[in-house]
């Protein structure tokens, strides 16, 4: 299935990225690229620097060394607002939703950048505000339909089980109509059935909307099944990069996961 997909040019390229927090080196000299329309997985043992890497991509962390080029534009670091405006959306390892708001309202926040009406217009709900609200609601409904969460549309997020909250978070990211979607452990803590659903959604997003996806995942079965190429990190260093089969047979990777006798 993955072989049938057409992958385009390099969309995102990280060159010699190093990131440290005081004396702790989180990332050391990492380089890799992401091509249009591909599903790119980042794997590695706990503390390998996977989430840090995502944070560098969408501008939460500023690396001390290296450059990031996104759609041909080379820069020292991203900033979060810029990243979002350029079509990078993400989900978080530990869900970051507004617990007291409904699913619908949470997903609507994903459309924030697409709304231009002033505060006053929105308050009295006329003209542009009304039109925008309807357009954005239609987009959000399409996402709700896509992720099959119609039944919880009006449910406060805090009342939902974990698996569904994860799906709502994906919905909010999708509502921003991203070209690059960063998923931080989208399947962590899910049961087999929820994982399968989530895999299907990730593949569908990739296929239907042509969204490029970078995901961090621990479940090797999932990673090997759905990703086109895999980067492996260990102690902040890149120890492998390639299509799933290459990575699976890479001795360094096997050692990192299983440990080696010294």
């Amino acid at each position: 299935m993955s072989t049938a997909r057409q992958h385009g040019d390099v969309m995102l390229k990280l060159d010699h990225i190093s990131l440290s927090f005081g004396g702790v080196k989180a990332l050391t000299d990492i380089s890799f690229d992401v091509r249009e329309h591909e599903i790119r997985a980042i794997i590695g043992p706990n503390g390998a620097g996977k989430s840090s890497l995502l944070n560098v991509i969408n501008g939460v962390y500023r690396p001390q060394e290296g450059t990031i080029s996104f759609r041909g534009q080379v820069r020292r670091d991203m900033n979060t607002h810029d990243a979002a405006a350029q079509g990078i959306a993400r989900t978080f390892q530990n869900i970051a939703l507004f617990k007291g708001m409904t699913v619908l309202d949470n997903i609507m926040t994903g459309r924030n950048l697409k709304m231009h009406a002033t505060f006053l217009e929105q308050a009295i709900y006329i003209g542009r505000a009304r039109r925008e609200e309807m357009e954005n609601r239609a987009k959000v409904e399409a996402v709700i339909d896509f992720l099959e969460i119609q039944h919880i549309r009006k449910t406060p997020v805090g009342r939902l089980p974990y698996g569904l909250q994860k799906r709502v978070e994906l919905a909010r990211a999708l509502a921003a109509e991203p070209s690059l979607l960063l998923l931080d452990e989208p399947m962590a803590g899910m049961n087999v059935e929820e994982k399968q659903d989530m895999c299907r959604f990730v593949l569908d997003v990739n296929e239907q909307y042509g969204t490029t996806i970078v995901l961090i995942e621990h479940d090797m079965g999932v990673v090997m099944d759905i990703s086109d190429r895999v980067v492996v990190l260990d102690y902040g260093k890149k120890i492998g990069d390639g299509v799933p089969d290459e990575v699976r047979n890479n001795q360094t990777v096997i050692d990192a996961y299983l440990g080696v006798a010294h």
Binding site: A4, R137, E141, Q150, H151, E207, Q208
Partner: protein, 647 residues
């Protein structure tokens, strides 16, 4: 009540065109899509059916062919039925949650070449069964999601385009085909759920289904202003009668829910006037209400308790128009403002004129509850072979333990063996490719043998006791009616399913399935910690809880003369839910008794020995088709039974 539009030579496509001509702008079908209810008028529906039929014809579909229809209740799937019928073909709706292997049997049996399915899930199952089904050539899908890269399957929209073009090139073709249809043509083939053996294709004519729909329309004064929610499996005869046959005969509006999970919300939004649900749906609704009431404030709880008590006393009588004391009437009116009307609103039942339940026995408390809060809930009786139309309860003559009087046009008789026999226009034409089964079920006088044992009570209403073949004898010679006992057990909200054993034995023993939602809630309130279904089922407290239910059932049985010997002596609580995926239940959720007793033979042996526990390992099949093993040590306990007074 509007007059009938169905003449003696009516067919469904002709009736549909008649609606389109006479009431073209009235709503025929609604579906909630992207959060908004979309409406199609009768003329729009007729247009779609026309394009669909022409599309199918252009693809080679001809008279007499079968069209498989698989998916949730979607407008286009209902329209496909009419399209197939317009061409003189026969729609064959199939249960959408069956795995591919089960599909293959029906697809082969019906020699399906054309299939209209809902979405990727169903397309995948079709493609999976393709190697086993050599006849299957054309697959059409409604929802294109995820199907972009599939080959050899056609989208519904493409089929409509092909049809419109064909229609332009062959004007008069569609009308000619519709005119060729005769009332005695087969209009649909519905597969029996297969409680016993392989499913059989039941062939019904236009005449039969129109007669059944027409009878019910007259009986309950259904008309164009009515509205129903279509949410039960399309392959089930009840849905075909309510959402298709009656839809076209009475001309009301069918509403398709947004998804299987949104039915409750959709029900509230639509507020149907005519409603059907199997007892388990009514039970789930009530359970939810009760659970939520327990979380309500003390004042609300007190009000609820007081007024449901009042309703129990006089609500059903008020609905039946019987004399009720003035004081109670006043209180009931207050209760209606404070409790009943808001409750009906929450349940989506504010506008209901007529609600039916059937398919399984309904608990008397449950039944009375709905009637007492002003929902006109009634029962009916019928089967796939009788277009789900044999008995109906008339307004004002509703009882919880009968299924009503013979419906208009139906002759009802009880055979000497106790079996219910029926005759009328709604009987099946035949079982597909099974002349032996047809001959066996319809006798020389034209009576259909229902296979149910029943009696007609003093008021002329039919009371079903059990499946005729299930009624047996215990070794003591006493009558043994397993379903009767099981239903008594299942009336308790904590018991989801029960299987009793006792035929040819000296005592009755039982398997119990707890209702996870209900028992889990009960356990939480008592601070009982549990890790999952199996763990909860094995808790001593749960055994005690179920033991009380069993003891009460024994109490009742002890007072029923002939059935006093059927009291339950020992029981166990199963570690897993009986499931259609494991072949333990049929798709309509009836217990496959023989299968269960073979699969759990060790447990039955243990029940009839003196063991107080038994180890069991069972295979389970997950929804994705994979299998796994579960093992458990099940405890067996004695139930409190009432011994007969010493003779």
């Amino acid at each position: 009540m509007p007059a009938s539009i169905a003449g003696p030579d009516a067919t469904f496509p002709r009736l549909l065109l008649q609606h389109a001509a006479e009431r073209s702008n009235r709503p025929a079908t609604r579906e909630k899509d992207l959060g908004i209810w979309q409406t199609w008028s009768w003329s729009q529906v007729a247009d779609n059916v026309r394009a669909l039929a022409c599309g199918l014809a252009a693809q080679g579909f001809t008279r007499g062919m079968h069209l498989a229809i698989i998916g949730d209740n979607r407008p286009r799937l209902y329209w496909s039925m009419a399209a197939a019928q317009a061409l003189g073909g026969v729609p064959v709706p199939m249960y959408q949650d069956a795995p591919a292997a089960e599909f293959a049997y029906v697809l082969n049996d019906a020699e399906i070449a054309y299939a209209v399915v809902e979405d990727q899930e169903q397309v995948d199952k079709m493609l999976e069964s393709l190697p086993m089904v050599p006849t299957l050539k054309h697959i059409y899908y409604d929802d294109p999601r995820g199907l972009r890269n599939y080959e050899n399957v056609t989208s519904f929209d493409a089929l409509l385009d092909i049809g419109r073009e064909y229609d332009r090139a062959h004007p008069g073709f569609f009308d000619g085909e519709v005119a060729k249809g005769r009332a005695e043509d087969v209009s649909v083939m519905l597969y029996t759920s297969g409680t016993t053996g392989k499913p059989k294709g039941v062939r019904q004519t236009h005449h039969a289904f129109i007669a059944a729909a027409e009878g019910a329309r007259g009986f309950d004064a259904l008309g164009p202003d009515d509205s129903i929610l279509s949410y039960l499996p399309m392959a089930w005869v009840g849905d075909h009668l309510f959402s298709y046959a009656q839809w076209i005969v009475a001309g009301f509006t069918i509403n398709c829910p947004e998804s299987g999970e949104t039915v409750m919300t959709d029900l509230r939004e639509i507020g149907p006037t005519y409603y059907f649900a199997p007892p388990r749906v009514f039970e789930n609704l009530l359970t939810q209400v009760m659970i939520r009431m327990e979380d309500a404030s003390a004042i609300k709880r007190a009000l609820f308790r007081y007024f449901t008590g009042l309703a129990r006393r006089c609500g059903a009588e008020i609905l039946d128009g019987k004399p009720v004391a003035f004081g109670d009437r006043v209180l009931y009116a207050i209760g209606n403002g404070l409790i009943y009307a808001p409750l009906r609103n929450v349940l989506g039942m504010s506008r209901i004129r007529v609600a039916y339940t059937a398919g399984a026995a309904i608990g008397p408390d449950l039944f009375r509850f709905y009637r007492s809060i002003g929902v006109n809930l009634k029962q009916f009786y019928g089967s796939t072979e009788t277009c789900a139309y044999v008995c109906l309860q008339p307004d004002g003559g509703v009882k919880f333990d009968t299924v009503g009087k013979a419906a208009p046009g139906v002759e009802l008789r009880i055979a000497d063996s106790g079996e219910v026999l029926v005759r009328g226009p709604m009987l099946l034409k035949e079982y597909y490719k099974r002349p032996d089964a047809t001959a066996e079920s319809i006798d020389a006088e034209g009576y259909f043998h229902t296979g149910d044992a029943g009696i007609i009570d003093g008021s002329g209403q039919l009371k079903i006791i059990d499946r005729a073949k299930d009624v047996g004898k215990m070794s003591t010679g006493a009558m043994y009616a397993p379903n009767y006992i099981e239903n008594k057990l299942k009336f308790y909200p904590h018991i989801k399913e029960a299987v009793v054993f006792g035929n040819g034995r000296d005592r009755v023993c039982a398997f119990i399935n707890i209702d996870f939602g209900s028992v889990a809630n009960w356990a939480e309130r008592r601070g009982i910690a549990f890790a999952g279904y199996a763990d909860l089922a094995a808790k001593p407290e749960v055994y005690a809880l179920i033991g009380e239910c069993v003891a009460t059932v024994n109490d009742e049985l002890a007072n029923e003369g002939a059935l006093a010997d059927s009291q339950i002596h020992r029981f166990l609580i199963l570690h897993k839910e009986l499931d259609p995926d494991d072949d333990e239940l049929t798709r309509t959720r009836k217990v496959r008794r023989n299968f269960v007793s073979e699969k759990y033979a060790v447990l039955i042996d243990a029940l009839y020995s003196h063991k107080d526990s038994q180890h069991i390992e069972t295979q389970v099949r997950f929804e994705d088709g994979r299998t796994g093993m579960v093992a458990a040590d099940l405890r067996i306990v004695e139930a409190k039974a009432h011994m007969k007074a010493a003779a």
